[in-house]
């Protein structure tokens, strides 16, 4: 699968995006407050590298514990897939656990995203990128 972006957990998204701008990243699109997922998202790009800054809205946010343990850190790769349901089925049969089933994501024009975990890889995100 082709890599779409790297997810970067940050505690304070406003402060982090200023620092990413200083090292060559530019904002892509607007800041999204994804209340469905309890996260705030800002996409940024440097050349061909796309990153997704993800900050928790509150302590119930799925990335709150990641930040508490590791502070600001890259924490997932997101991969494009033509069919998210087929790819999930394939990964499930290869010992991936579904963290978050497929649902539309505000930051990606409502396209379906899902999160999975593998004990020897960690967290990955799938994004349905139909041609």
């Amino acid at each position: 699968m082709k890599i779409h972006h790297i997810g970067y957990a940050v505690r304070d998204i406003e402060k982090s995006l200023v620092e990413f701008e200083l090292i060559g990243f530019k904002k892509v699109g607007e800041l999204y407050n994804d209340t469905e997922r309890n996260v705030i998202i800002q996409l940024m790009k440097n050349d061909t590298w796309l990153i997704e800054l993800v900050a928790p809205c509150n302590e119930n946010s799925p990335i709150f514990s990641i930040i508490e343990k590791n502070n600001n850190t890259p924490y997932h790769f997101c991969f494009c897939t033509d069919s998210i349901s087929q790819q999930i089925d394939k990964l499930r049969s290869n010992n991936y656990v579904i963290i978050e089933p497929a649902k539309p994501a505000m930051a990606f024009d409502g396209r379906l995203v899902a999160f999975l975990y593998h004990k020897y890889i960690g967290i990955i995100e799938l994004l349905e990128c139909k041609q």
Partner: protein
């Protein structure tokens, strides 16, 4: 598989994930009583249990598996 074997395997996974020793393991472990057993650790425990028992859990089951008692109940149904 015998009930005791199921419980022993589950306890082995939980003890390893939560870094417990035999002395700290009671009859049943409850997620809310362990600060280490957060949402991220929960996913790693689920992955280890799937591997240990060669089963797959549904998302609804993963949410319900918040104590060793509930884990035993769900796994027993799958074996």
């Amino acid at each position: 598989m015998l009930e005791k074997e199921i419980i022993d395997k589950i306890n082995k996974v939980l003890k390893s994930a939560l870094k417990l020793n035999n002395n700290t393991l009671g009859d049943y472990l409850i997620k809310d009583k362990f600060i280490e057993w957060d949402s991220l650790k929960h996913i790693t425990i689920i992955a280890d249990l799937e591997s240990e028992f060669d089963v797959l859990f549904e998302p609804e089951e993963i949410v319900e598996m918040n104590s060793s008692e509930k884990i035993v109940e769900i796994i027993r149904k799958k074996l």
